[in-house]
């Protein structure tokens, strides 16, 4: 294992922001050895994702010491792309609230977060595989799964090697065209985003599953030797397989379902409780049979807003 400084950024009153990577299997990031990059911590509150990356570093270090990491396959793990936001407890860039994951492929003469994105993409460009450990724009709890842009449909089958329950093919929205995932696959990296767990705290159970999934993937693609449980036989799902569950009433969101639950049509998933009278004003029932993919973490429900996602 080699810890390398990927890039740094100066500041007037803070210490320079230093972004490190942990390199395995090779000593340099030269062409031909850029096999897989795993990136997390692009937002300051992606705690579970940063923890996953740190645990991945720990596991790879042991595997390398045991001689189970191939010497000609470069593995780069970047646990914290955005230390400034993490240290100041902000989700986005501290001084202007911009999101680095809306700035790719970046611009080295542009604004601050465009420059951070450019510095990072300069390192990440050219990898054969790319994994981004990331979180959703609505705060909540996801069943761990792999997400691929619809434009990367041709390699979707390869994501089965993770052994996670779902491979979600997403149609990119306009704002997705500036994410790392989208730009990676435009520049011929097979890009995978992994979502999972709750973003309010470190979810160790989910982290363990995600780290194992990444090691499974590396094993299947000849980067490491890792013979562990192989996980699920993944289902490939598209937006058409996902049902949005909303509430017509606003109030406390008293949810009895959990992400990953299999539910039958008509089963009660949550109650909406009036914030003044304490009365139950509405019950949210499963609109059809399926598995809960996502539940929002906000204890309040807003009317006509997405609360859960269900895989049919």
């Amino acid at each position: 294992m080699k810890k390398i400084l990927l890039f740094s950024k100066d500041s007037l009153y803070r210490e320079n922001m230093k972004v490190y990577g942990y390199l395995f299997g090779t000593d340099t990031l030269e062409e031909g050895k850029k096999t897989i990059a795993v990136v997390s911590g692009m937002r300051g509150n992606e705690f579970t994702q940063i923890y996953e990356a740190s645990q991945l570093v720990k596991r790879l270090k042991i595997l390398e010491e045991q001689g189970r990491v191939r010497r000609d396959k470069g593995i780069l793990v970047v646990p914290a792309v955005n230390p400034y936001s993490i240290n100041s407890e902000k989700r986005f860039w501290p001084s202007d609230n911009t999101d680095i994951n809306r700035m790719f492929p970046g611009y080295d003469l542009g604004e601050t977060t465009q420059r951070v994105a450019a510095s990072l993409f300069n390192v990440l460009d050219g990898f054969e595989y790319g994994i981004h450990l990331t979180s959703h724009y609505i705060s909540g709890n996801f069943v761990p799964h792999v997400s691929i842009q619809d434009t990367g449909r041709d390699y979707a089958e390869s994501a089965k090697a993770f052994g996670l329950a779902y491979i979600r093919l997403r149609r990119p929205s306009h704002y997705d065209t500036t994410t790392l995932n989208y730009n990676w696959q435009i520049w011929n990296t097979r890009a995978y985003s992994i979502y999972g767990g709750d973003d309010k705290a470190v979810d160790r159970e989910v982290s363990e599953r995600v780290v194992s999934a990444i090691l499974n993937f590396m094993n299947a693609n000849g980067m490491i030797e890792f013979d562990h449980h192989r996980g699920f036989i993944s289902s490939l799902i598209t937006e058409d397989d996902i049902c949005v569950i909303k509430s017509s009433h606003a109030g406390f969101f008293d949810c009895s379902a959990r992400a990953g639950d299999y539910v039958r049509k008509g089963m009660r998933l949550a109650r909406i409780i009036d914030t003044g009278s304490g009365e139950v004003i509405s019950e949210i029932k499963a609109p059809e049979d399926g598995t809960i993919l996502f539940i929002q973490s906000n204890p309040l429900a807003f009317a006509d807003s997405q609360l859960m996602l269900l895989v049919r």
Partner: protein, 348 residues
Amino acid sequence: MIKNVVTLSFPVEEKLCIRKQRILPAGYNKESDLSGLRRFSVVTGTHGDELEGQYVCYEVSRILQENTDKLKGIVDIYPALNPLGIDSLERGIPGFDLDMNRIFPGNSHGSMAEHAAASIVEDLSGSDMVIDIHSSNLYLTEIPQARISEVFQNELIPYAKHLNIDFIWVHSASTVLEATLAHSLNSTGTPTIVVEMGIGLRLTQAYGRQLTQGIFSLMKYMGIWDGEAVIPRKPLISTETDDVEFLNAPVSGVFIQHMEHNSFVNKGDVIGIIADPLRGECLHKVKAPCTGVIFTLRDFPMVDEGSLIGRMLRAEAIDEDVLDAYRRRGARQVSSLDLARYRGGEEE
């Protein structure tokens, strides 16, 4: 006549209400048949930290209500598309990660914000003209300007010339900007001009008056207003990407402004300095990269490496008569910085 465009329940004894004021010509009321009338819409407040449009909405509404006899069409005024953001001094929607002006045309199955966006687009659609007023952000001051995507320039520039603004900036198309309110409306046949002016969290009354006059001038041109209107000033127009120079901070520090916003400067003139107060050093002298007009200038002093300090329109892109007027006014300094005394910050 005040109407609710969007009404969505909050958890505790409140509804999210996005409202508009509809002003009709004298003799019309809500029962009247409005089918023959043209409709002009003024919207603002998508970004909660941009308040310049508040003054314009107030003035347009006040003047029209005092003069409905001179009004020949419907005017809809939407002063707050993001009421929560305005209330909490937040650019976006509190509790929602995405920029509200990146989620249009919205989605009635999505989050509260996406749902609201869909209702806003539905309500504005069919207007004969929409003016979407923005005011930069917390950091930069802008001269009153229209921002028009190159895709829609032929349709929109003739109207924008009547808005009494200083600058029309035609920018290149980008996929991300296709999710703005203006793009969503323009691409579905509702002409929409984005106006940027002033700075976040403030009212620049002179700019507000200028644009208010411009809105009446444009309404007159469109046959919606029959009262007095100014002859619009002739704007700078930029249609080529190379016309505009961006000035980004090469180092982090405190930007101390030397030249005034909207000045004509010569290449090499010092626009300001970036200083390090701890060490008492000038880290960089920000020099004009070309001869031309500073149409964007940083007001907020702290800069990170990369922060935008300003934008300039190159002199070559400016019509001779407009350029002459700028030259006569010359480069205006706001500070008494004696630049000769500042050591350091020179380019290699």
